[in-house]
Amino acid sequence: MGVARLKKAELYYHKSVHEKIAAALQETGACQIITTSSEENQQKISDVEALIASIDEKLADVRYLNRTLTPHYVDPIPSLDRMLGERPEVTMSELEELASKTDLKKICDNTRAVEHETGEVRLKLSEARLNSSILSALEFFDYPLSVITEGTRTLTGLIGTLKAENVSGFKAALGEFSKFAQDSELIIAPFDEKDKASEIYAAVIYSRNIEAEIRETCAKNGLSIVEIPANLTGTPAEEKEKVTASISELEAKETELSAKIAALAEENVPTVQKLSDYYNSLSARYNGTAKSDATECTMLTKFWLPANKADEIKTKIEEIGPDIELVLNDPAPDEEPPSLLNNGNYVRPFNILTELYSSPTYRGIDPTPLLAPFFWIFFGMCLGDAGYALVVFGTILYVFKKYKKIGTGVKDFIRLFLFCSVSTFIYGVISGSFFGNFIDSFVPVLIPLKNSLMLVDPMTNPMQVLGISLLLGVIHLMFGLLIAAYDKLRHGEFIDALGENISWFLLIVGLCLFGVGLGGMLPPHFTQIGQAMAILGAVIIFIYAGKGEPNYFKKIINGFLALYGSTSYLGDILSYSRLLALGFGSAVIGMVINLLGGLAADIPYIGWLIAVVVIIGGHIFSIAINILGSFVHPLRLQYVEFFGKFYTGGGEPFTPLTLSQEFVNVKA
């Protein structure tokens, strides 16, 4: 329970066994290497650095192939299955063999060649498509385009576009130009006179000696010149035919190339993925030992390991050879080891809730077992429906039955919901909610059974559930205060524990007893006890707040200010009313779905079908949206209200050296 005890290991060994040692440390998956190397010993571990460099080279190839080929690869394993651990299983030695017989360079070269060719084809294709669109617009032009692109000995020309409304002006301008009439010709594409804003193609052919004047006239009249690619020399009709032919040829080529790259992907991606995990594992391994200290021939690697695995790891390392010395020490008081949560099967799924916030420090309190029961209850109250609980429970059991190789992290997260579905079921039964009011609406036979099991009824008596929610809130908050007090007492801070935590505990519990007693729900002497506790608590708070303040006037001000802090407790407690609201929310959404289903059932002939679709689809939606709310809000109650009293986290999580398992399950 709590934060696992760690040992600090110092491992001295000869450089010749470095690779074996590194492999052994990684395979245990329980060693976090500590950086001990410094600038000056970089040279002494140069052989490790060389090893890393050679792996990085391979990794670069693997990454390139992954990036290029994966988009063309159809994974035969569905991604959900992959996430749930259905992946190829390999051992490191199999991977080593695969790596030695795979010619990564050759695959890279093949891929690059195809990629390069594809790029060229695409470039040509876009050029051809552009030409094709220009040529379609030039159908009005009957001369060979060489007149424009090359020109004859005396003639040349240009093609451009201008607005329809400018056409007559342009014609007039060219007409005025006296030399134009004899030596040149203006050809304008057919256009619709009414559409004044449309862009019209126009070609001008003219004698070379008046080029400058012509260009000036064009510019003045708003004709913008279109560059005709130099390789177009025939008439537009001829060229168009050629371009169309080349487009279809290029398209065929492109299809062929993408088939080629798909074939490359299909052939190589599974290997590349395995090698990716292999080389990433090696890279992590040697980057780990590169943190070691070294002399000419020996190395010193320091690492943290869980105390309960020390013997196992020691045996494993000492098997490697005789020139090895492993020294295990407890962490020194001034050292801050990383923290590893070590909880049993029932609490471990809740670890993620703590880790999402912040890991505890090595010597701090692990809040996981403390928050677990509250989160479990709160989740149950928020989702609060026996039917939904059964759906969640059944789905998870099915997943666990079908998928046997789910990774620990994912499995624990799913188990969190498995556990919480139990509390949801319990609360659903005692609050009479089964797929909303499904029983009342559709199976009246079961109403007496449902009613006999009901202990609370949020629908007709919400104040009762509100009271329970707030009471749970008080218990949760007071529990947090007691943990804070315990933590302070553990460190001998008796006065602070009394002034900051126990005093508030007395005040609030006292006020609650007093209030409940006044309401007549408890025997009268509880009222007096409550009153006494509250007054005692308030006095301690008042005095503690003035501690260390020499000025009596300020002492009094501080005291009142501290008591004013009780409003924050009021806010904290009222925050738990969300338990009622969310539970209510899921019940009413369920009710609405059943109601809509019932209304749909009245439609003649196909009503029952629509009703079934509405009810099933609606409840699935309701489960999804309510699980999100039921996860987030109880989590907030832990983080803000509960942790606010005693927990700050701030520890460094334990991150051991492990094998990379991005694509395949790698076994040592």
């Binding site: 009313s577 109601l595 809000h633 989590l635």
Partner: protein, 158 residues
């Protein structure tokens, strides 16, 4: 019939205003999510969860609207209950907390969600904190929902 009209107006406000708020909030968060996913499509799952957070206000509004319709006997063909204008106004008042708070809180929650989405694009491991920040805003929508529910339960009709 003024009473019935007022009550229906309340139901309409609850569903419409809270729905508008959620639509804006989800829209804002969705824009941020799309931006993050162009860089890293693998973040779809976490982005979707953060985007969905401001959606609850719309559901709360719908829930209150149905609550009112049910109270008025408009669901299930039994016929509407008789209601004087005073009772109608009471129901309208009960709808206001979730209508107004749902509207505004969803928009601000959407902005917080968008910021959280930006956060996980840089630090995917901070998902827990990223979920909690928008949930802080939602608290007030939950409180407004609770207020509306308790008020509606207190109103006597028929």
């Amino acid at each position: 019939m003024l009473g019935l009209s007022l009550a229906l107006f309340g139901a309409a406000l609850a569903a419409a205003l809270a729905g508008i708020g959620s639509a804006i909030g989800i829209g804002v968060a969705g824009g941020a999510a799309a931006g993050v996913m162009t860089e890293d499509p693998n973040k779809f799952g976490s982005c979707l969860i953060l985007q969905a957070l401001p959606g609850t206000q719309g559901i709360y509004g719908l829930l209150i609207a149905f609550f009112v319709l049910n109270k008025l006997g408009l669901l299930g063909g039994a016929g509407a209950v008789a209601l004087d204008w005073n009772q109608g106004l009471q129901i309208l008042a009960s709808c206001l907390p979730i209508a107004v708070v749902g509207w505004y809180s969803a928009i601000w929650q959407g902005k917080t969600s968008a910021a959280s989405i930006q956060m996980i694009s840089k630090k995917p491991e901070a998902m827990g904190k990223a979920i909690i920040l928008p949930a802080m805003v939602e608290t007030y929508a939950v409180l407004a929902l609770l207020t509306s529910i308790l008020m509606l339960m207190g109103v006597q009709v028929g």
